[in-house]
């Protein structure tokens, strides 16, 4: 069998295996689009799960207006019927659940005031209060007198419901929605819970499209109809759609630019075909590796991974040009290519060590993709392309020569001077301007229309629960309630100090079993007393029997049960957790210190938590980057000697500082993702430096490096226009970094014992 047939055969088998694996696995994978969902695992994984499962994340709200109240009711009912897959949260359901709970809770709950009266044996005031309730014109709940003739549970429920109703003060409940008036116009407010994860783009995108389409159809029917919506679903879908569009748009454009470039340089279909096969193979290998290692591939990871195109095409250009020069030249090129792959893989391996899923996926994609591209260039190119079979465009050669000649005017001393001066000045400027931010709110540009929708819904529905809450941990459900009770005086104190408007805790609804038992004993004492006997006689009811089955969490209404959480057993995860919802909280360090003194409670702010995690990841990436660069420099010292390695270090520093300085001068604040860009700039700049330091003609190296840099800049330059600030920052960093690197890399040939040939 011929060698070329064998190599092509092996290559084809590999591609087919990847294709078969992907066709089997891809339909089963759910693509994620949440930045925060991709954040690192830590001791507090259960907190992240809690936030992910928190019902607020799955809630959507829809306000309909513009029509008379009766027509709004028709439209709202029609919309609810059209979407049975949504779990509609209705006032009627709340009412029924409250009724059911109240029936169950009769005799088990009482207000603090009633407890005090019971403890002080002030039975007369209890019976007086019961008479007041019995004789007032307010309706009485059904069937509770037998178990709770003093109506202590009714008073307790009214007390609890007061806090609950504050949430919807301006709204009137109808059966299936809330209604109200805003600027004299009636509106209805529908609320639903999603059965799907809003970050699961596969399911969320069609659902959102369906909802919007139905609303548009209803608007055709009722032209005056206006609507506003809110919910994570709409933001997540917008982010996913933008990421997908950008990925295909930028990927497509950069591919197109590469095709044009290849056609211009080689004027032949064969290199074009080889480059496309290289990119395709690299992409296929990268995707296969990601799907192999990760259950839920992240869309943003693939936006970052479009960088593969830039690096892989770099190898392709070097391979194509070297093959043209014949086997000897190709063999001379290989050490540089291998060293370049080694240094780039080292850089991406640093990403793999970081606890950030997106970056892990980028790393896996790039490691597999670049290895595939390297193997293709090394083994397939020599058998696929005969030497001297193509003509290189004279203009391309001319451009490369011009740049090389420009730098050749500098002698070694001048080159050092230039590197030194620019390196110091760019470093000083960087130190002057540098400003990092880890606030995740700045990572994503919220869509202004969606923001308006959100703000309008908040205006209509009043103040909601805060996005931060308290978490109470315990070993058992009973201990959880006890601990919430221990926390209560602190909450009351904060309320009095104006640091907290109100809160909702599970223990507001559910007393501990010990407290329920005590209440029963105290009630029996009331019934046996003279006051109690007289009251029961006047009412004509028998003495209630002591209750034996206690009220538990399963009796609570759904919306309270959702505040209880049983984390998956793991490192640092408590057995039981309850969430205390806060409204209007402005807790400072003193209050947080008071919380931590308790030892079982903490304030949890998902945004603050995510930002802290990002800050941690940024530090780790910084360390990883430093280690990777240090490792690469050590390899260079070993391979090239101290002097040239020093020059390459200065060259890298200039490229990196320039890239970051431009971002800073344009008003951007540096983020984790700028650092990811830096990592790639280092990888690409090292590539260029290694090739210029190799035993190849500088003009040949410049041609390949220049061509690959142009393609990379086209790809990354477009990312700089992304709507997502982090992607834009990432793109701009790489764009500027590569530009500076490609323009200054030939100066490296003027340093040390020159191995490269000037012309």
């Amino acid at each position: 069998m011929k060698k070329s047939t064998l190599i092509w055969g092996c290559w084809l088998v590999m591609l087919m295996l990847c294709g078969a694996y992907l066709s089997r696995q891809l339909p089963e994978r759910h693509w994620s689009s949440s930045i925060t969902a991709a954040f690192p695992g830590s001791d507090a994984d259960w907190q992240r799960d809690l936030v992910a499962n928190h019902s607020a994340n799955r809630q959507i709200r829809l306000a309909l207006t513009g029509l008379p109240e009766a027509q709004l009711a028709i439209v709202a009912a029609e919309f609810q019927q059209q979407n049975p897959e949504l779990r509609w949260v209705t006032p009627q359901q709340h009412w029924q659940q409250l009724q059911a709970f109240y029936q169950r809770a009769a005799g088990y709950i009482a207000t603090t005031a009633a407890h005090q009266h019971l403890a002080a044996a002030q039975y007369q005031s209890l019976t007086n209060s019961a008479w007041q309730q019995l004789l007032s014109p307010l309706p009485l709940a059904d069937n509770v007198l037998e178990r709770d003739p003093l109506l202590l549970s009714q008073a307790a429920m009214q007390h609890t419901a007061t806090g609950l109703s504050q949430q919807f003060q301006a709204l009137t409940p109808a059966a299936s929605w809330l209604k109200g008036r805003f600027e004299q116009l009636p509106f209805v407010l529908l609320q639903a819970e999603l059965a799907i994860d809003p970050f699961d783009a596969e399911l969320a995108v069609p659902l959102q499209a369906k909802l919007v389409q139905q609303l548009q159809l209803l608007q055709q029917q009722y032209p005056e109809l206006r609507w506003h919506h809110s919910g994570l679903l709409f933001h997540a879908v917008k982010a996913a759609t933008t990421a997908k569009t950008e990925m295909s748009w930028y990927g497509g454009l950069s591919m197109f630019a590469i095709v044009l470039l290849l056609w211009w340089v080689f004027a032949s279909g064969k290199p074009l075909l080889l480059a496309v096969i290289t990119l395709g193979s690299a992409g296929l290998a990268g995707l296969t590796a990601v799907v192999w290692f990760f259950e839920s591939p992240h869309l943003l990871a693939f936006v970052f991974a479009t960088t593969l195109i830039g690096v892989a095409i770099d190898y392709s250009f070097h391979g194509l040009l070297a093959v043209q020069q014949g086997p000897v030249f190709f063999r001379r090129m290989l050490p540089g290519l291998s060293l370049s792959l080694l240094s780039t893989l080292l850089g991406y391996t640093a990403l793999l060590l970081l606890p950030l899923t997106i970056l892990n996926q980028v790393a896996v994609f790039m490691l597999a993709g670049l290895t595939a591209a390297y193997l293709m260039v090394r083994f397939v190119y020599p058998v696929a392309l005969a030497p001297q079979s193509m003509t290189i465009a004279a203009s391309a050669r001319c451009g490369a020569n011009l740049l090389v000649r420009f730098w050749q005017r500098f002698n070694q001393r001048q080159a050092w001077m230039l590197f030194g001066t620019v390196a110091i000045s760019s470093a000083l400027l960087f130190l002057l301007l540098v400003k990092f931010s880890d606030d995740v709110r700045g990572f994503n540009q919220l869509d202004p229309t969606l923001q308006q929708h959100e703000q309008h819904i908040v205006k209509l529905s009043g103040q909601q629960w805060d996005n931060k809450f308290l978490l109470v941990s315990a070993e058992t459900a009973e201990q959880l309630l006890v601990r919430e009770g221990q926390l209560r005086p602190l909450l009351q104190a904060w309320q009095q100090q104006g640091l907290l408007r109100n809160w909702q805790a599970v223990s507001d609804w559910l007393p501990t079993i010990a407290a329920q038992q005590q209440l029963q004993q105290q009630l029996q004492l009331v019934y046996q007393s003279a006051v109690g006997q007289q009251f029961l006689q006047q009412l004509g009811v028998a003495v209630p029997q002591p209750l034996a089955q206690w009220l538990t969490a399963t009796d609570l209404p759904d919306f309270v049960q959702q505040q209880l959480y049983t984390p998956v057993a793991g490192k640092g995860a408590p057995a039981k957790v309850s969430v205390i919802l806060l409204r209007g909280s402005t807790l400072g360090n003193t209050q947080l210190a008071q919380l931590s003194q308790l030892g079982f409670a903490q304030r949890f702010d998902p945004i603050e938590d995510a930002s802290a995690k990002v800050a941690g990841v940024r530090q780790q990436l910084g360390i990883g980057l430093a280690v990777a660069v240090l490792a690469a420099i050590l390899i260079l010292v070993w391979y090239y000697g101290v002097k040239r390695a020093g020059a390459i270090t200065l060259f890298l520093q200039i490229a990196v500082c320039s890239a970051l300085n431009i971002s800073l001068l344009l008003g951007q604040t540096l983020t984790l993702f700028h650092l990811v860009g830096v990592l790639l700039v280092v990888a690409l700049a090292l590539d260029y430096a290694i090739f210029f330091a190799s035993k190849l003609a500088a003009a040949e190296v410049q041609l390949a490096v220049g061509l690959s840099a142009i393609t990379s800049m086209l790809a990354f330059g477009m990312l700089a226009f992304s709507q997502t600030p982090v992607i834009a920052g990432f793109g701009l960093t790489i764009l500027v970094g590569i530009l500076v690197a490609v323009l200054t890399a030939p100066l490296l040939t003027r340093i040390g014992d020159l191995e490269t040939q000037g012309e």
Binding site: W95, L135, P139, T162, T172, Q538
Partner: protein, 192 residues
Amino acid sequence: MNWRLGLWCWLLASSSFAAAASDTAQSQQTVALQQMAQWQLPQGKLLFSQQKWIRGLQRPLKSQGFLQLEPQSLDWVTEQPVQSAVRLDKQGVQQQLAGTYQLQAGTELIGRLMLAMLQQDQAFLRQYFSLQPLPEQSGECVQLTPLQAPLTNFYRHIVLCGQTSLSRIELTELAGNRSEILLTAASIKAVP
């Protein structure tokens, strides 16, 4: 008669019946409102006596007291068998506890309802109830059946009766409890 003619007759009859039923409901509502409009508007202090039949109790609970009606609020003061006071207004129902009124959650509509019944706020009553005259009961009575939540969660129906002024209110709760409130005319300061 062939089937087409039969179908045509059935459709005609159904639509006529539907139209007639709608007309009847409309005319009953008009009659009920006219009847209520004849009652003189009460103002100031009214004496009341209430009998409340609560499910599970063998005999009704009786109470007496007075209502102090103001344009924006109603004080419901029970004097017998225990002293208690409740204020009803558009905010809801406020129970007097230890000398201060405390608003009870979720009672906005009940507060507005009581005021609307006594002040004959026809717009409110039409919005939340279907109204029907009940001439067979003693005196001229109007039955109010709630149309929408949350009132449908509390009341099965309400009956208002009177000759020249509102003299009896009967509240039948969904839970089966029933209250009969008699307003004594002697204290009503009539407004012409």
